[in-house]
């Protein structure tokens, strides 16, 4: 509908209304629903699958909450998703002295919290103190612990923070991007011991005080979250412009992925991350829907089969389950690796939009990905040969037996509700069946599965995915033998195998080299060890796509996150 620059006066409005009423009868009449006219409002609509669990950025453990706090809060340093290098944010610069043991951050001046109070170095020191508080459960603490010791931070003046670490620690700049919280609001709560209950999802949104680009205006559980531009946001590109350029964002909570897809197709949301099977449809309809579909790259995570080699699961009443022997037998594991039909999984489960995964670090991580590993080719004959030569023969009935004569049979699990994983398991199961190995497949609800993996250790083989990190040391929980996510045998007191000891050593060495180029070989070697010893059998990595309204400017997603989201805006028509 026509709308002049100066708005519509009442008479024009009546004319337009009359014309619209007359036009309604005619075919092809186009009615703009005001609530869908996101461009005019400059409000970006998107959808997410689950409700946040907390608004407290320190306590966040799930992605849904992280999406919210990421908009409300900011950190000292941001990682640029294009270069994967740390860039100044609330800290405008930093100096490294004392051979990497002392880092001095110079903070931005005149930054205001959303309640108008000034942001100072005290807030940073307070945030670190909160993270190290043993009463506060949080996931930042392990990545900020060097040699078992916390980082000592002090504020010589309001705009300087000095951090001291026991030894040079290269990953620090990647770990220091945690959200800064306001000391003047939360310090009393921490002192009173009620910090873990503050800023939960029942807190009225106006009570949240942040430094981020947006304020939370409204939260309706299971329906939507409305964000409003923070008028005092610290970031400036040109002196007279206000950032972020959008006036707000609305995130609809849509649990069903099908519904989220239909909402995007209907224009109710402006951005969407399609599943592989939806990509072709969106590409075909891109013109008519006014959307752009873009390939953003290879997924950063890793999706793998893992065999449990935790003695706590197998040794019962003095007897050892023969499974432990199979799952620590390299020949058996090699046979398993050769039985994973990666190309089939790509074609069948990902509609061709995936690549075989060789290393546990994604090629998207250009610095730390080891490109020299040779994949285990899908070859069931070779797998059968490996099993035969290792003494796993087939009985007359076709069942495969181990050298002691036990039938080879194990359980395979993954989390319920993800069709691609169901299908990948069905394929693996089918290939092992042709080798005479019986696999019982039973997917489990996600929280039950996590409990089995981290607490009861009652599982044989699992297909599970981990998200990737730019800084490989942030995955130390998984790599280190003492880590609680060292899936195949977690929380070891001393490394169970020489190669696990070697990985621990490489992690220590890699973290103490300050030059990023010089660090890479340590992590390449870790990938080589994982590839050779096969505690995890990599499968495939999805090629990620995104789709967004073509009227959006400066919209650029990468696999590591959205590039400069504060510059996004709808084109003025």
């Amino acid at each position: 509908m026509a709308s002049g620059k100066g708005g519509i006066n009442r008479r024009d409005f009546l004319k337009i209304a009359a014309a619209a009423a007359a036009g309604l009868g005619a075919a092809g009449c186009h009615v703009d629903y005001p609530s869908f006219n996101h461009a005019e409002q400059q409000v970006l609509y998107s959808s997410t699958t689950s409700d946040p669990r907390t608004f407290n950025p320190i306590l966040v453990t799930d992605t849904a909450s992280g999406q919210v706090t990421g908009r409300l809060f900011d950190g000292l340093v941001n990682v640029n998703p294009l270069t994967t290098l740390p860039e100044p944010a609330l800290a405008k610069s930093w100096d490294i002295a004392d051979g990497g043991r002392t880092i001095t951050f110079h903070l931005l001046r005149d930054v205001k919290w959303s309640d108008g109070r000034p942001f100072t170095a005290h807030d940073v020191v307070f945030t670190l103190a909160t993270i190290y508080d043993p009463e506060v459960p949080n996931s930042s603490r392990p990545t900020l612990t060097v040699d078992g010791k916390p980082i000592v931070a002090e504020a010589p003046d309001d705009y300087t923070v000095v951090m001291r670490i026991p030894k040079p620690f290269a990953p620090l700049l990647y770990a220091i991007g945690f959200s800064i919280i306001p000391a003047h609001v939360l310090e009393p709560a921490l002192r009173a011991g009620s910090f873990n209950r503050t800023w939960n999802i029942n807190t009225p949104p106006r009570k949240l005080v942040g430094l981020g680009p947006y304020d939370l205006a409204r939260y309706v559980p299971a329906q939507m979250m409305q964000f409003r531009r923070n008028p005092d946001y610290w970031m400036r590109v040109e002196r007279d412009k206000v950032l972020p350029r959008l006036r707000g964002e609305t995130v609809l909570i849509v649990q069903d992925q099908n519904a989220a897809y239909l909402k995007f197709m209907a224009g109710q949301t402006d951005v969407y991350s399609p599943r592989p099977e939806e990509v072709a449809d969106l590409l075909d309809k891109a013109k008519s829907l006014g959307i752009t579909v873009q390939k953003i790259g290879i997924d950063t995570g890793s999706l793998f089969f893992c065999f449990n080699r935790n003695p706590r699961h197998y040794v019962r009443a003095g007897r050892t389950n023969p499974k432990l022997k199979w799952f620590t037998d390299l020949n058996f594991l090699r046979a398993m690796a050769h039985s994973v039909d990666k190309q089939g999984m790509i074609d069948l489960c990902f509609h061709g939009l995936a690549v075989p995964a060789v290393s546990d670090v994604s090629p998207a991580n250009k610095i730390f990905h080891n490109p020299n590993l040779k994949d285990y080719a899908y070859d069931l004959k070779l797998a059968a040969g490996l099993l035969e030569s290792a003494g796993y023969h087939r009985a007359g009935s076709g069942e495969r037996l181990d050298p002691e004569g036990n039938r080879i049979e194990f359980d395979l699990t993954t989390n319920t509700g993800v069709q691609t994983r169901d299908q990948m398991c069905a394929m693996f199961l089918q290939d092992l069946k042709t080798l005479g190995i019986k696999v019982n497949y039973r997917p489990l609800e996600f929280t039950t599965l996590v409990d089995k993996l981290t607490n009861s250790f009652d599982w044989d083989c699992v297909l599970i995915g981990f998200t990737g990190t730019i800084e490989p040391n942030n995955g130390a929980n998984f790599l280190r033998s003492s880590g609680n996510l060292h899936l195949w045998n977690p929380n070891q007191k001393t490394p169970a195998t020489p190669w696990e000891a070697k990985i621990d050593q490489l992690l220590d060495e890699g973290a103490s080299v300050m030059d990023i180029k010089a660090r890479a070989p340590y992590y390449w070697q870790i990938q080589q060890i994982l590839h050779d010893q096969l505690p995890v059998i990599e499968t495939v990595r999805q090629i990620a796509y995104d789709a967004y309204k073509t009227s959006l400017e400066n919209f650029r997603d990468t696999v590591w996150g959205r590039y400069r989201p504060e510059l996004i805006q709808f084109r003025e028509s």
Partner: protein, 363 residues
């Protein structure tokens, strides 16, 4: 003994024996009495049970065999060969080739023919072992023959009802009749217990029970477990009705007459009480089979029933949950058609049986 001695004792004159019609004649009579939906339903069910019993012969392929180059392949057309080629086979199809992996579009390869052999290698129809497969109803996302999966899935879906009903009704009739006939404290105890059982929220109870099935169990055992669980929940309501009917039949004139004539308790139960309950039981059983079929579908849809790679109509239909799949591969809805037909058929048949057997409707 005088031949002309008058008979002084009064004997109960036995009625002349009913002319026993042969089974075939009876069935023919029933068929004539049935309306066309009932006839259709009977045929439908007969076909489904044949599918279930003859799965290995009727299904052309192993239901778990994955043709990995042919995911979501559409149903293929069957062509009749020219009479000159009948020595090789009567029917053939053109093999499909995927032309676009992202969009999953297929093209027929007109140059090649896949011969569909009838009655060969133990199947009604199949293709030669090395030859490309012939998908009558298309394939699923892993390239498995949907027709074979539906045929094997019918074993679960068609027998879960029968088995479940057998357990529910033997439990229900025994407990109900016992309760109604004996009465007193036992009656009271049984009825209160059944009330407790009926007040369990059945669906959540099922979910909880399905979650504790140990992981090493085979599909068949899991299947029996589910049937047992469902029956265990289902008997109470039925037993209450049977108990009520038994109690009321106890005092109707013809039972009292039989008792007055000195018939034994067992004879009364067998000749008068159970037959009067049986009509209801058969009708209720037929009408409750669809409940089991749908219950299994719901559980499988939620991932708690029959697990991959085994097939049941319910878990086959679970694939159709996806809007995208439904829009592009509509043949994955076919298992739903089978469920629909089976449930409708049982309902029609049940209604008809009620008309025929329920004493209050007898002409």
């Amino acid at each position: 003994m005088s031949a002309a001695a008058p008979r002084t004792d009064i004997r109960l004159e036995a009625p002349p024996p009913e002319r026993q019609a042969s089974l075939g004649a009876k069935l023919r009579r029933e068929w004539r009495l049935a309306s066309w939906p009932v006839r259709l339903s009977t045929l439908c069910l007969a076909v489904f049970y044949i599918l279930a019993l003859g799965s290995p012969v009727i299904a052309p392929y192993n239901p778990t065999r994955q043709y990995r180059s042919l995911p979501d392949c559409p149903p293929m057309a069957l062509h009749l060969a020219a009479p000159s080629e009948w020595r090789r086979g009567f029917f053939y199809a053109y093999p499909m080739r995927m032309t676009d992996a992202v969009r999953r579009t297929y093209a027929e390869e007109r140059g090649v023919r896949t011969w569909v052999h009838l009655f060969s290698r133990g199947h009604i129809f199949t293709t030669a072992p090395g030859a490309p497969p012939y998908f009558l109803l298309g394939s699923d996302a892993l390239g498995r023959d949907l027709f074979s999966r539906i045929v094997y899935g019918s074993r679960v879906s068609m027998f879960i009802g029968i088995l479940g009903v057998a357990i529910t009704f033997s439990l229900g009739i025994t407990i109900g009749a016992l309760s109604g006939y004996v009465g007193g404290l036992l009656d009271n105890l049984i009825m209160r217990w059944s009330e407790i059982e009926m007040s369990l929220p059945s669906f959540y109870f099922l979910l909880a029970l399905a979650a504790i099935i140990p992981s090493g169990m085979s599909t068949v055992k899991t299947f029996f477990m589910i049937v047992a669980i469902m029956s265990f929940i289902g008997w109470a309501g039925f037993a209450r009705v049977i108990r009520g009917m038994t109690a009321s039949v106890r005092s109707v004139p013809y039972v009292e007459a039989a008792r007055a004539l000195g018939a034994s308790r067992w004879r009364i139960l067998r000749r008068h009480v159970i037959p009067s309950v049986m009509g209801y039981a058969i009708v209720a059983a037929t009408l409750s089979i669809p409940g089991f079929i749908l219950g299994e579908s719901a559980l499988s849809l939620l991932g708690l029933g029959i697990q991959e790679p085994a097939a049941s109509w319910g878990n086959l239909l679970a694939q159709a949950e996806d809007v995208h799949a439904l829009a592009h591969y509509p043949w994955i809805l076919l298992p739903g058609v089978f469920i629909f037909l089976a449930v409708m058929s049982f309902n029609f048949l049940g209604d008809h049986l009620r008309d025929r057997l329920d004493p209050s409707h007898l002409r």
